[in-house]
Symmetry: C2
Subunit: 342 residues, 2 copies
């Protein structure tokens, strides 16, 4: 059973384990600094599909399939799947996963979705509501551009604060440690969780998501540190996804006002995914698939290799829509935290 | 701890209880057969807001506020809120609930969202991951029309199979029965759950959601009956939401092929919400707010009054988007079941 620690944090006493994980990306991401770590890289951004949306669905299908294979688990042995993405009505998830025949629970947390799905799947396995659950998310540059900004053909110019939506998907299989079949080989478990409250600092610029999301990330991290009585130096890495360059700096500044210095251990998936000098994406990467693909490849690989032991993963999401922005609304944001331990 | 029954069903042994509930609707719904049962009815469909989306957000704000009041619980005493709606990026939920300062977990299950949020909130309270959790959803005729179909000003004609998206919201507060503060007065608890698998029978007509969703409802109900070894006659009511007239008939026909006759106990929120003769809405009502408002007012009131004892609530959702339909895709659907007992 999970036990509540402080006001916002849950400690998972059964310690659900990560049985398998996979990251799948597109061409630009495969050319970034972490290119060698992804399980699959596509040179064709359309993945051979007839639309960007279908290509994004395919990313999820592949990520789940690879993660199941690596876990040595059949899809019939999975009790439920938690999935979400950025597209209207989460169609990447519903169309990408409809053929799996696994009980499906759609999630919407914008770019925090990898943390949200991983956290809820962990609670389900911890509580025995599922023996094995899947957490998966995706994003695609081309489907996101035309839905949130402009069709690619328009050739719109991006502002310096804009982040580049990554083409990618990450999937993790979470298992109950009390289940014999699922306890093989895994060295990563979910130790604790903090679900975030919505923050809104009044940022209205839909091309500066990092600024909108930074307060949510800072708040959830502070909630977690307060609840657990730990400090940033107790962790090998505090990994946000995806604040980019501007949001990461703002988050560090916000925390410094409360005398919390994370600079020595903080990194951000939006910073890690592209090479700032060779791949100009302005303020960094973003999209659920950015943190999803990095967490479910490079980070988990480093943990299994013994190079990272304690990772606080903070998924951050901007909860607006083009309609809300057109109506003059500010951008509410949220961040969820998952403490992974190897 | 929940215990799994059969392949797809979970029995909740701690029996999470419904501490409070509220249904809020618009003018047309208040003029329907259940008008007297709603906690609040708005004569002005805009709720005094400057956009339909803001009006829909307000429905959620009010439903949660009323449900908390009826439960005698402060918002600071709620551990997390599960919310979702039909709008792109679930903005009714995020904007309607951002000021609550409660950890927020966005859900996307289309019109199955009331069942999905209620089910996940029940597992969280059952497992001790939350002492008290909120489940809420909404829909609004005007915001849904312009997003999914045509702007109202266009005056598009509706087909005979079309359902009318209800303007409404339903909210329920779920509590752990082991918590002293929350055990007062409640007579309704969540006994069991079945999460649905995505079905897709190839229906492409976005104006015939009932037909698309009927197979999902039939499948989840069959899963539940198989898992539990019960029959339809073991329940006072099997309540779907929202298949409307066409989908309800199709669901009954599908089940009859497997010799399951639900006709004596089946009702559907999309049928109950409007008067077929006086309020012509063609194939009935729909939208997350339809089943949300009816479940969280009339149905729960009947249960507390001792007129209903065993209710299987089946939320049904069509998981397509305008984009997927424009790309020629079929309509995948899902249904989740919550067994409520008084």
């Amino acid at each position: 059973m999970p036990s509540r620690v402080g006001k916002y944090t849950m400690s998972l006493n059964n310690k659900p384990i990560i049985l398998g994980y996979a990251g799948v990306v597109g061409k630009k991401e495969s050319e970034g600094p972490l290119g060698e770590y992804y399980d699959q890289s596509h040179k064709d951004t359309s993945l051979g599909e007839s639309s960007w949306e279908k290509a994004e669905s395919r990313l999820q299908t592949e990520a789940v399939s690879l993660a199941l294979n690596k876990a040595g688990i059949e899809k019939t042995d999975v009790d439920c799947i938690f999935a979400g993405d950025l597209l209207n009505q989460c169609i990447s998830s519903t169309f990408g996963l409809r053929s799996l025949n696994i009980p499906f629970l759609g999630q919407y947390g914008a770019c925090s979705t990898m943390a949200q799905t991983l956290a809820i799947a962990s609670i389900f396995t911890e509580a025995g509501a599922a023996k094995r659950a899947v957490a998966v998310t995706s994003s695609h540059f081309c489907s996101a551009e035309r839905q949130f900004r402009f069709p690619l053909e328009y050739g719109g110019q991006r502002t310096p604060t804009a982040q580049w939506t990554a083409t990618g998907s990450g999937a993790a299989i979470i298992g109950s440690p009390t289940d014999n079949q699922s306890s093989k080989n895994s060295q990563i478990h979910v130790e604790a969780l903090t679900f975030g409250r919505i923050t809104d600092f009044g940022v209205k610029d839909a091309n500066n998501m990092g600024a909108a999301m930074a307060p949510a990330a800072a708040q959830t991290l502070e909630d977690y540190l307060n609840d657990t009585g730990t400090t940033p130096m107790d962790y090998d890495m505090i990994l946000t996804g995806d604040l980019g360059y501007i949001g990461s700096q703002l988050m560090e500044e916000l925390l410094m006002k409360d005398n919390i210095d994370i600079s020595a251990v903080h990194n951000d998936c939006g910073i890690m995914i592209y090479d700032r000098n060779k791949q100009d994406v302005h303020a960094g990467g973003s999209g659920c698939g950015c943190s999803g693909a990095i967490l479910c490849s490079y980070i988990m690989q480093q943990m299994e290799a013994g190079k990272l032991h304690n990772v606080l993963f903070l998924g951050t999401g901007a909860l607006m829509s083009p309609t809300s922005s057109q109506q003059g609304e500010t951008i509410p944001s949220v961040a969820h935290l998952v403490y992974l331990k190897a």
